[in-house]
Symmetry: C2
Subunit: 250 residues, 2 copies
């Protein structure tokens, strides 16, 4: 019995953003488990079984992975981006906590990856270059009131903010409400970046002022970055540089 | 003239956490610029000049890199972790903003890396597995009052929190004050992780409750992770798993 479970981050999309550590784990794996579009990114090979499952099945997926590791398989649970940022790592540990006690002593490792907000921030410059926070805008697993409260306090603290999962077909309204809250609490020239599918062929980046932002600029593949009050736009011949300085006036 | 400037993240220390994209840029570079311990991580080779400079010289370093790129060199500015998280990307863009206008049209790219908080969170489980924020505890470039205010609002929002640069010889008091603030605002069994030099031979991880935390647990190589009120510790035969669940009671 030498099974193990690795929860690995595949980064935002481009293979050149997958760490060698993750590639090595995938090369040693007998089973890969994950949401369909992430499993599609894994090259099939002899001796490797791919288990692709639908979204919102995270706990079942986690249990399945744990059972296989317990049975001696070498299992990689794949997430996009970083597995610890609104992804599978917490789901696996939730399953461990309520599962049989001996699951805690399985060989479980989390391998970090490049998360969407940092890939997006790099693409435009360094909009998260000072204190910042990350908020999951999905209210599938938490009340909307809490999301609004966190966003309000984040703006009050003058953090730069990354909004994950801003909008989906099942949740068309949340991001509109978030934009409304931003309009109540920020100056109209606050900088927003809509970053879609960063590092993939579908990559689309758009830098706008809050006064020009609209809900349909975001979809489920978008991370929305909100600058702090100090965030700067440097215009140039190509797309602008967006960055947040390190200094705050003393 | 085919000079370019890449601002690259080397990750927390282990070579297996450097992305292939960054390795490729380093393989093509004529010059590497950075803080001494980060430049030491670059393998010397024929045709590559290493420019190692002391800390707190970020703007000079940025200008030097920009001048070399302007002169046709292929320059990589190296940061530990991710260059957009309390590192060189913002410093370079600050230099671009106040420099000659044509610097804006240089070929400048930021290549993301695995930042310390995500490497540390992965090592212990998924303590940043829900909404979280990152605060630089150094008051070299911002007033201490603002740091306290942000930390207070972050706790009020019930974010998990990563504190970068918690303590140095030149700043022995800040982290003590931060701990005092946490004791005033959080329950005594709030979970803290002190993660030092993650993924290096000097790695040291310590999970403690707030009531048992002391300032000397942190130094300049430490990132301090503070759980949200929902963060859980799962004890097991080896070091505990620390994670924040995805759900908040509705």
């Amino acid at each position: 019995m030498s099974g193990w479970l690795v929860i690995a981050g595949l980064g935002p999309g481009d293979p050149s953003l997958v760490t060698p550590e993750v590639s090595q784990a995938l090369a040693e794996a007998t089973d890969v488990v994950g949401y369909i579009p992430y499993v599609k990114r894994i090259q099939p090979r002899h001796g490797l079984t791919l288990h692709a499952t639908d979204n919102r099945r995270e706990l079942n997926r986690a249990r399945h992975a744990l059972e296989m590791a317990e049975g001696g398989h070498r299992v990689v649970v794949v997430s996009s981006g970083d597995p610890g940022v609104f992804a599978m790592a917490s789901a696996v540990f939730e399953a461990v906590e309520v599962g049989p006690r001996h699951w805690r002593n399985l060989d479980i490792r989390v391998l970090p990856g490049i998360t969407a907000m940092l890939a997006a921030s790099a693409r435009v410059g360094a909009i998260l270059g000072h204190d910042f926070c990350a908020i999951n805008l999905s209210d599938n697993l938490k009340p909307w009131d809490l999301i609004e409260r966190r966003l309000r306090l984040a703006i009050e603290a003058d953090f730069a903010v990354a909004l994950y999962n801003p909008r989906s077909k099942a949740r068309p309204k949340g991001f509109s409400q978030a934009l409304k809250l931003l309009r109540q609490t920020c100056e109209p020239d606050r900088v927003l970046v809509f970053a879609r599918s960063v590092s993939t062929p579908d990559e689309h980046l758009r830098t706008v002022l809050l006064s020009n932002a609209s809900p349909n600029m975001a979809n489920m593949q978008t991370v929305v970055l909100i600058g702090s009050s100090a965030t700067r736009i440097l215009t140039r011949d190509t797309s602008p540089i967006v960055y947040t300085p390190r200094s705050v006036g003393q």
